[in-house]
C-alpha cells in the first residue's frame, strides 16, 4: 500500500508539473508563434547557406593548413569550423520551428483538423528535436567530427530552393490566419 501511495504521489506530481507548464504565463517564444513578423520574414532560408558552410568546412583547407600552418592554427580553425556547423544546425532548427508555427496557426484557425496530420507533425518535431540534440552534443563534446558535408550539398541545395518557393506560398496562404491571431495578441488576451 505504501508503494501505491508512492506511485500515485509521483503521478500526481508529474500531472501538477504539466498543469503548471500548460497554464504558465506565455514566454517570448510562445508569443512569437503568432507574431506576424516572424512568419513574414524575408524569404531567405538558412538551408540556402549550405554552399558557404561546405566551403568553410572544406577538407582541402584543413590539409593545406596542416602542411603549412602551425598546430595552433589548425586547432583554432577546427574549433571555428565546429562553431560554424553548430550555428548552421541552430539555423536549420529555426527554419523547422518557423514551419511548425505556421502549421499550428493554420490548424488553430481551421474548422476541421486531421488527427493523422497533427500526430505526424508531433512525431516529426520529436524526431527532429532528438536528432538535433544528438548532433549538437556530438559536436560540442568532440564526440563527432565535423562532416565534410559534400554528399549533403546537392540534397540540401535542392531542398533550399523548394523551401523558398513553398514557404513563400504557405506564408501568403496563411496571411489571414496570422493577421487574425496577431489581432488577438494585440488585444491583451493571454496566449497560453
Amino acid at each position: 500500500m505504501t508503494a501505491a501511495l508512492f506511485i500515485f504521489s509521483l503521478i500526481v506530481v508529474a500531472l501538477l508539473l504539466l498543469l503548471a507548464w500548460a497554464l504558465r504565463a506565455p514566454g517570448k517564444s510562445i508569443r512569437r508563434k503568432f507574431d506576424l513578423a516572424s512568419l513574414e520574414e524575408s524569404g531567405r532560408r538558412h538551408a540556402t547557406y549550405f554552399a558557404l558552410i561546405r566551403q568553410a568546412a572544406s577538407p582541402a583547407d584543413m590539409e593545406f593548413l596542416a602542411r603549412r600552418g602551425s598546430p595552433q592554427i589548425v586547432r583554432r580553425v577546427r574549433r571555428e569550423r565546429r562553431n560554424v556547423a553548430l550555428l548552421y544546425l541552430t539555423q536549420l532548427r529555426e527554419d523547422f520551428q518557423r514551419l511548425l508555427r505556421l502549421a499550428r496557426a493554420v490548424a488553430a484557425l481551421s474548422p476541421a483538423v486531421g488527427s493523422r496530420q497533427e500526430l505526424e507533425r508531433l512525431w516529426l518535431s520529436l524526431e527532429f528535436s532528438w536528432r538535433y540534440q544528438m548532433i549538437r552534443a556530438g559536436f560540442r563534446y568532440g564526440l563527432l567530427p565535423v562532416p565534410q558535408l559534400n554528399s549533403l550539398s546537392h540534397m540540401v541545395s535542392q531542398l533550399a530552393v523548394q523551401m523558398e518557393t513553398c514557404l513563400k506560398e504557405l506564408g501568403e496562404r496563411a496571411a489571414t490566419a496570422v493577421q487574425m491571431a496577431s489581432t488577438l495578441d494585440g488585444s491583451g488576451v493571454d496566449i497560453a
Binding site: A4, A105, P111, A112, L152, L159, R173, V189
Partner: protein
C-alpha cells in the same frame, strides 16, 4: 446525535461560506450566462454539504448507513464536475472548431485508458471498490483536462485568466483526491487513528483553497474575445500535407548529417 469532530465542523463552516461567496460572485458578475453548469456544480456542492451534515449528524461520521447514503450523492457531484469542466474547456475552444474536435478525441482516448485501469484495479480490491472507482474518476478527469490544456498551449490558443483559474482548480482538486484516497487506504489498513478525519480534512482544506482562488478570479469579468475568422475548410487540407512534407525533408537532412558522422572513421 453523534458528534462530528470539531475540525471537520470548522472546515465545513468555512467551506460553506466560501462556496456561498463563489456562488454569489457567479451571479453578481454575470458569469452565470456563460458558465451555467459551473453555477450548477457549486450549487450542488452546497446541497451536498447540507445533506451530508444531516446524514452525519443523524447516523454518525463513520457509520455504514452514513457511508451508504453519502456515496450516491458523490456521483451527482462528479457528474456535475465533469460537465462544468467541459463547459469551461468549451468556452476556451469554442471558436476553434478543429482544435475542439481534436480535444474531444484526446479526452476520449485518455478517459478510455484510465477507466480501463480503474476497472481492473477495482476488481482486484473488491472491499475498496468505491474508493478506487472514485480515485479512477479523478485520475481520468485530471489526465484528460491536462491533456487538453497541453493541446491548447501547443496551438497557442488564448485563455482568459478566469478560465485558467477554473481549470487549474479542477485539476488540483482531482489530483489531491487521488493522493488523499490512496493515503486513506494506507492509513486505514495500518489501523491509524482518525484516518477518516485526516482523509476528509485534507480534501476539505484543498477544496476551500481552490474555492478561494476561484472567488478571486470570478471578481473580474471575462475579457472580450472576438471570434477569429476561420480559414476556408480546404486550406488546411492543402497546407498541412505540404508543411509536413517540408518538415520531413528537414528531418531527413539531420538524419543524413547524423549518419555521415557516425559512419566516418
Amino acid at each position: 446525535m453523534p458528534a462530528l469532530p470539531p475540525l471537520i465542523l470548522l472546515l465545513w463552516a468555512i467551506e460553506v461560506i466560501v462556496q456561498l461567496t463563489v456562488l454569489s460572485l457567479v451571479v453578481a458578475k454575470r458569469h452565470i450566462h456563460t458558465l451555467p453548469l459551473f453555477f450548477l456544480y457549486i450549487a450542488l456542492n452546497l446541497c451536498q454539504a447540507a445533506f451530508l451534515f444531516f446524514v452525519y449528524s443523524q447516523y454518525g461520521f463513520t457509520s455504514p448507513t452514513a457511508r451508504q447514503l453519502s456515496w450516491p450523492s458523490e456521483q451527482v457531484i462528479l457528474t456535475a464536475q465533469a460537465l462544468a469542466a467541459a463547459e469551461v474547456l468549451y468556452r476556451v475552444l469554442r471558436h476553434y472548431a478543429g482544435i475542439w474536435a481534436l480535444a474531444w478525441r484526446l479526452i476520449a482516448a485518455a478517459a478510455f485508458i484510465v477507466i480501463c485501469y480503474a476497472l481492473v484495479s477495482a476488481k482486484l480490491s473488491p472491499h475498496w471498490t468505491l474508493l478506487i472507482a472514485n480515485r479512477g474518476f479523478h485520475l481520468t478527469f485530471a489526465v484528460a483536462l491536462i491533456s487538453c490544456l497541453l493541446l491548447v498551449r501547443f496551438y497557442a490558443i488564448p485563455i482568459d485568466p478566469l478560465y485558467k483559474a477554473l481549470m487549474g482548480g479542477f485539476c488540483v482538486l482531482s489530483c489531491t483526491i487521488v493522493v488523499d484516497n490512496t493515503l486513506f487506504q494506507a492509513l486505514f489498513l495500518r489501523h491509524f487513528p482518525n484516518s477518516g478525519v485526516i482523509w476528509n480534512s485534507l480534501e476539505m482544506v484543498v477544496f476551500i483553497s481552490v474555492q478561494m482562488v476561484w472567488a478571486l478570479a470570478l471578481r473580474h469579468p471575462v475579457r472580450v474575445d472576438d471570434q477569429p475568422e476561420l480559414l476556408p475548410p480546404d486550406t488546411y487540407d492543402r497546407l498541412s500535407p505540404d508543411v509536413n512534407s517540408r518538415l520531413r525533408d528537414l528531418n531527413d537532412v539531420l538524419s543524413r548529417f547524423l549518419r555521415l558522422q557516425v559512419l566516418r572513421p
